[in-house]
Amino acid sequence: MVAGQVIVNQAMAETRAEATDEELEFAVRDHARLVYRVSYSVLRNHHDAEDATQETFFRVWRYRKKLAEVRELRTWLARIAWRVAVERRKKASEVPWDEAEDAIPKIRSSATSADQLLLQAEMQGVLDCLIAALPSKLRDPLTLSTLEEMSPTQIADVLGMNEAAVRSRLFRARQILRNKLAALLEGKHGA
């Protein structure tokens, strides 16, 4: 009787393991890109982002028994990816404003107007510096909002805050970036 129960339990556990393996494979196939993009938005490096993606799915595999209980798989995966990436992110997040301002004169030398200045490829680097210099409570929602897959509701779920707070912080972050960019462009005109 006991031996019979053990055999039945083993068979059930194997069936469950096969089911969770299948679910996990579907999750990888469907959401690996999202996980990668979340990781990349934080780490800004392809190699690190791929490592973070691997680690994210490894964590999912370790807790694969919970897969059946997860309601929003996308949000759940994005939250894990976000945590993994933030853990991997080093002190590089704290960038002073001066770095962004120092980059501008190099670009100015080759541009004649504000329009031309904005068309320069180097302006992408300036924006990275400006975003990195934002306080983390503004930077995190802005970083996730750049991903087209993430709605404000999902961003709120990932960051563990309410949607209104996400919207307000996004507005403030964009306002700061706009003002800083305007100031930089005015500096160009003033030069």
């Binding site: 494979e25 392809h46 904005l118």
Partner: protein, 199 residues
């Protein structure tokens, strides 16, 4: 606000939207899913066996311990039963001796609770041992006569008349001694020298 400034703000907004969208549109190298799955498979093959695979071993171990414990207890109770039957000493239950009853009546030596515990524990053990032994027709069980008793039996058989006379004389003598003892009364114990030295 001047139209020039408005135009610049619009330009900055558009640029910001476009650049942020580009920022989030990073594409992984092709085959990311396969690489992730391959690493997961290799990780799962490295992991130890799940906990339920040890269950039969645990059940077997528990069964062995239980059977061993049961055998040990059975053997132990059997040996104690053998001891009880082999000794066969007479045991009195419930009826106190004269000395015990005298002590209880006078209250000279009130039994302490410790003493009661000491008495009660072996009695319980003895009752258990007796319960395991079948009841005998004669109690205590008959013992073979000693050498002196056998000599006495042979003497009585050979000289019955003399033996009867001697027995009667012995009885009368012991009765007379008993009467004399009662007439003299209890002896008065004089204090010893050690009592005088240590009041």
């Amino acid at each position: 606000m001047e139209p020039k400034d408005k135009e610049r703000e619009r330009l900055i907004d558009e640029w910001l939207d476009g650049t942020l969208k580009q920022r989030g549109a990073a594409e992984p190298r092709p085959g990311l899913e396969d690489r992730v799955l391959a690493s997961l498979r290799s990780a799962s093959s490295r992991m130890p066996a799940p906990a339920w695979s040890w269950r039969p071993a645990w059940i077997a171990l528990a069964a062995t311990v239980l059977i061993g414990g049961a055998l040990f207890l059975a053997r132990r109770s059997g040996s104690s039963r053998q001891v009880a039957t082999s000794t066969g000493f007479p045991v009195k239950l419930g009826t106190p001796t004269k000395a015990e009853s005298r002590g209880l009546q006078t209250g000279a030596q009130a039994p302490s609770s410790r003493h009661q515990r000491q008495v009660s524990t072996p009695r319980h053990a003895i009752e258990t041992a007796i319960a395991a032994v079948p009841k005998l027709e004669q109690f205590p069980s008959p013992q073979p006569l000693s050498e002196q008793e056998q000599i006495l039996v042979r003497y009585v058989q050979q000289f019955p008349r003399e033996a009867g006379l001697m027995a009667r004389a012995q009885t009368e003598l012991s009765e007379q001694e008993e009467i004399d003892r009662q007439q003299v009364g209890p002896t008065i114990e004089l204090p010893t020298s050690s009592d005088q030295e240590n009041p």
